[in-house]
Point group: C2
Chain length 415, copies 2
């Protein structure tokens, strides 16, 4: 790849501010990032101030101190979460701040820690974070996620390379997947958004009642919520600003009906959850609920996740991604949802997106739940697509339209 | 010095948690730190979790992005401050969190920036920070400040050394000043606190009405507030926890009467304020108010500071420090208040400490102001002590008791 690291960071920084956030002059910006992302944060911050940001504030996370908690903390201390910090973040969003998350934490950081401590801390964090998260999921402000290569993440993706080479290789993969290797990344993203929007519009025009997934170990009928809406690519937040919440993104996605999912499904890629890898998931749904769940690796953590709350074992999202996506084409397993979910069609346990429901403005959670939109503290994507998957759209009268074969979109959906 | 950097960091980390904060098991801890202090933050965090901290959260500041704001930000953007973040911090303190600040930012960072932008940003920051700061100044929770050597700060203190040597030399000076070069730093601090407390108690027993400072360019009578209280060394926060708010500390200090300061005073060391050095300050007080102010360097910034609000040109603190203090003995100009204020007697413009007033519990600001305690958005210390300074305590009947000669305490005050 021709890009130097400095060029790539600068382009990714500009893309995050312009295309990712659509940052408006006068807006505050709140960033969260791992400590290793300091060079990228500095490029983003400079581009944000040049674009007129009134203030950029970054909260750094540190895997070393996160791990220190689970190693040295007292057993009675793991139900604490910084609710005061999340309350502050929520106030920032309500005050008009944009939100950028930089992902890159060690996917397996906590795999050696006491799973009870990890589960309790994670649950406390989810409860405390909810008021801020709801403003993000309801698209109250413009937000985006981009990635930074960290040594621990790079070592997982490229286990055979020395650290420095692994980090360089991961940066290169991030730049390619994020389209900053194009001569004009902002223009490349405009074209990419047009293609995803055409697919989204074709799906919305059909108003399918359900999707039917078939593949090895999978025969799953996913009912769609009443008045579901397909989304994908750039979208307009409720503050009127158009942004790209995920960089990269390849998916179109909508809200399943949380009581109308039936059948069996097997995961096609490992899922990294709170530092633990969960692989080889096989579950069975009845009337929307998971009634049987196994995993070849990380089953204990999976079972804990499913027990988080009443909505944790129901679906909140279903997404379609062509097997030929650039991320799938890289052949890499990133161990990071932002990338892996854009390599394959997927489903998500937990909270549904209000933005994937028609006429949701002004409706409370109960009204959306009555239409099938799930509610939970969690939202966890896992991959069920591959080159062997077939997907049909099922109309209200039961008739089937082929959407995907051998993992690729057909006809009008191929756009 | 025999301490390695790792040993010094570990001892300073343990001292900050045990002696600085007196951290209690189950308490949350909120740290602010410059990015360069990551190794010290990690040592502190581990010691905090071992001591039973329920959660340690660190907010990192970055001089590079701070400077980027003033270089690239739009002219209309400098009145913004993260009020939402300070609201969150205030909520943390009210919820029982302890507070540790790590100082070490580049003292001259903003000296080349537009002073109007810097003053506007500083004022916005002061206003937004006030609700959180008041909980600290009123000692609602246990808190402390320690220092970390950063390259920019080290370059200022040791301008003739290469960066790496300068940083090592500054760490060494910090370890010595903070008494972590003693075999048992926690025991050394217990003895140091006993000595300061004896001096504090002697001053409180005398109930002086005023102090009289004499030296080159200085002939200043500082009236003390009605019902003032001398403080120094470890103190008990209102949550019942004993902590050392400053590491290092050598001073005893109290509240002047904001309407009873008369005469002239000249600074004896430069003052670093918001990144600008102010040196050679000479001011004249009448009825507590500064009516004439000059500085050989940084006078523009000084004048802006004095104009912040009605209390910014009156005194909120007066402190006595022996000229023989270890920090003075180092012969170094740190350019950082935490150190320089412990090298010399000093006064502070702006906000008074409630804790330096008798029977302040339950009294509102107006009641304390009626007794002479100043109120302001700012609290800025500047040094007026030296080996040439003389201080007398003036009793209510006008009689003078000699407290300091040639910069050293006399008699019972020498403890």
């Amino acid at each position: 790849m021709a890009l130097t690291l400095d060029e790539g960071l600068d382009r990714l920084g500009a893309l995050a501010v312009r295309t990712g956030l659509g940052l408006r002059a006068g807006q505050e910006l709140l960033i969260t990032a791992p400590l290793e992302a300091v060079p990228l944060v500095r490029r983003i911050t400079e581009h944000a101030y040049r674009a007129g940001a009134s203030l950029v504030t970054t909260f750094y996370g540190d895997d070393v101190t996160r791990l220190a908690r689970f190693r040295h903390g007292h057993a009675d201390s793991f139900d604490t979460a910084p609710g005061w910090m999340f309350a502050g973040m929520a106030e920032a969003y309500r005050g008009g701040a944009a939100r950028l998350a930089i992902t890159g934490d060690d996917p397996a950081l906590l795999s050696g820690c006491n799973p009870d401590f990890v589960a309790r801390a994670s649950r406390a964090q989810s409860v405390a974070y909810r008021p801020a998260l709801e403003l993000i999921t309801s698209f109250a402000t413009n937000w985006s996620i981009v990635a930074a290569a960290t040594p621990a993440w790079a070592a997982m993706v490229f286990p055979d390379l020395p650290t420095e080479e692994a980090v360089a290789a991961l940066w290169s993969a991030i730049f390619t997947a994020s389209r900053v290797d194009h001569a004009d990344p902002v223009a490349a993203w405009a074209a990419h958004n047009r293609a995803i929007h055409a697919r989204r519009d074709a799906l919305n025009a059909h108003r399918f009642a359900a999707l039917h997934f078939r593949g090895p170990g999978t025969d799953l009928r996913v009912g769609l919520a009443d008045g579901h809406l397909w989304e994908g690519g750039a979208g307009e937040a409720r503050n009127g600003i158009t942004c790209n919440p995920n960089i990269p993104t390849e998916e179109v996605f909508t809200t399943p009906h949380c009581a109308r999912v039936e059948g069996v499904v097997r995961s096609t890629k490992p899922l990294s959850y709170q530092g633990t890898l969960i692989d080889g998931i096989a579950v069975r749904f009845e009337a929307g609920r998971i009634v049987e769940a196994h995993a070849e690796r990380g089953e204990t953590v999976l079972q804990r996740v499913l027990a988080t709350d009443a909505g944790a074992n129901r679906l909140g999202e279903v997404a379609l991604v062509p097997h030929s996506s650039p991320i799938s084409a890289s052949g890499l397993l990133f161990g990071n949802t932002l990338f892996d979910e854009n390599a394959a069609s997927h489903i998500a346990l937990g909270q549904a997106y209000r933005t994937c429901m028609q006429d949701a403005d002004g409706l409370d959670d109960a009204a959306l739940e009555a239409r099938g939109a799930n509610s939970s503290l969690i939202h966890i994507d896992w991959m069920i697509g591959s080159g062997e998957i077939e997907v049909d759209g099922i109309a209200a009268d039961g008739s089937a339209s082929p959407l995907m074969r051998a993992g690729e979109f057909l006809g009008a959906f191929a756009s």
